[in-house]
Amino acid sequence: MELQTTIYIFVGLSFALYLGIAFWARAGSTSEFYVAGGGVHPIANGMATAADWMSAASFISMAGLIANLGYGGAVFLMGWTGGYVLLAMLLAPYLRKFGKFTVPEFIGDRFYSKTARNVGVLCLLVASLTYIIGQMTGVGVTFARFLGVTSDQGIYIGMAIVFMYAVFGGMKGITYTQVAQYCVLIAAYLVPAFFISLNLTGNFLPQLGLGSNMAGTDVSLLSKLDQVVTELGFSEYTTTANGSLLNMFFYTVSLMIGTAGLPHVIVRFFTVPKVADARASAGWALVFIALLYTTAPAVGAMAKMNLHGTMNSAVGLTTGPAGQLRVNPDVLKANGDLYATEASLVYEERPDWMKRWEKTGLLKWEDKNADGRIQYYNDKSKNEVAKGKADAAGWKGNELTVNADIIVLANPEIAKLPNWVIALVAAGGLAAALSTAAGLLLAISSAISHDLIKGAINPGISEKGELMAGKISMAVAIFVAGYLGLNPPGFAAGTVALAFGIAASTIFPALMMGIFSKTVSDKGAIAGMLSGLFVTLFYVFAHKGLFFVKGTDFVDMVGGVNGFFGISPEAFGTVGAIINFAVAFLVSKMGAPVPRHIQELVESVRVPKGAGGATGH
């Protein structure tokens, strides 16, 4: 069957499944709309959380990032998983015991202040909206690549689908849809990884394959990769850090506490029946996330190996009978000269997948030394040996540029897997983008309908009225998200830093202090959140421009790009969080003590006994 037809069938079937589930699990009450009626099994909730959490970026971009960064890619792996330990122990069970619908609601009640609640809503909206822009553009790109529509049309289709199952299903529909989406996306991620790991190492489990020897040799995959990339002038794969060690440290902290503070993830733990379930559910979520996150480093490293092996025959990979890449043990062990003329791939003999991806512009070749061969190396290397060899071989600069996002999407093509696998990856990428977009939309709409409309504007609203308001604000949020996806403010890369930075520097500290301290007061919490927000915004805008407008950056004010100990803007949420904690404690110390009944509220949140279902009042 034609590849395109197979893709239509796979994507169509998966959408029919999601919509069917949404219809079956449609929400009839506010409780079902916000927290799925509170009766979700911890394992199902874990799967839904995993789908909610693993966005188009995790699915499509992360393996490519790791391939480029090598060891430094660990900040994403540890940061985006370690946060679940914090969530399980520090936040989830206590917020579940508190038993209300939303994160700002806890902040407002614990800090006995409408202002605190509104600041919470503001932080939640900024974090979720910046995050959703990236999701919508991801939906557009994935649809465009696989359905042959334009990126704009892709976003319209995505909006329509999310609209149908999110607006009618609410949290209940989203939760069960996400369980299905998780199954699709994880299958799509693992199947090609199994094939590739088997081809390269003879071990089909990628987690073991990454630590194995190349098939038929006694050379380990990682040491071979280290050798190839350093000889070609790149930095060593297994040791190169992401900035300084201090930066790596702060980056990881920022992603961990940002993960634990992202409202659309926290809200998940309001949907389980018991406090004990909230603890275990975080564990299940991490199991399902880890299936992808422990595979990603293998996918990254093996894709890098495959890429070098395709471009340079001296690496020791060859094409097998079915067209897939295989190890050629003798060539591999010989450590042949990567700079030999005949080693570089002749452009006219390039494989089909390269031709296909050249059309998308994500893969480019430029024959700088006019020899008709592809030279792929690091021409900006500080490695004098590599430089000398390249000059001696008559290489005039790197000729191949590869967009990191190709790595997952093209993986099955590179490995020459059957069409159904490629179609499965298409369905998986869409599932990842749609499920995260839906989760974010729900967090946004509940902040508007529950925290703003019911909490601040019209407290007397009926349940029916609130449900309608929730659905309308969800619909509006979809249009805003779609609009921002169609007209992205030109800063897609910076948005994730901002979303995590804000969650890390405002929401996480506020929740933690609310649970673990009885002395932090309303004024302390408000001052803490605002100063954390301000400091983080200031630093991110300093590097990326005021509200991400190009040319308005003021990075010199913070000592240049390498100022402030070389901490990158993505890592700065940690500093914002520290400032938040410090300011909150100082201000609380100076002002009036926390009232007696709030201290009792904190005490009751700390014990599981007497937890009922989550309620709105």
Partner: protein
């Protein structure tokens, strides 16, 4: 007062468990994965340099075990102090 003391003892048992979990969490990720990764890389686990393994695989496995261990220990603490849900 008896219930107050019980609640206090429950909370300090909880914090004790939290401290243990957080220390391990810190040691495997920030310790083995970042601060001491270079030194650990001179050891190998199969074809993995050990520091690299902790950073890209090992810490994640430990995180999972930690959460389930924490959940089961908390269950015991809940029952010991009579704080479990009905």
């Amino acid at each position: 007062m008896a219930t107050d003391n019980n609640a206090k003892a429950y909370w300090s048992a909880t914090l004790g468990l939290l401290t243990k979990v957080l220390v391990i969490w810190f040691l495997v990720s920030y310790g083995a994965g970042i601060l001491f990764a270079d030194a650990l890389n001179s050891f190998h686990l199969g074809g993995y340099p050990l520091g690299f393994w902790f950073a890209q695989q090992g810490s994640i496995y430990v995180f999972i075990v930690l959460i389930f261990w924490y959940a089961s220990q908390m269950g015991k603490i809940d029952r010991k102090f009579g704080m479990q849900e009905d």
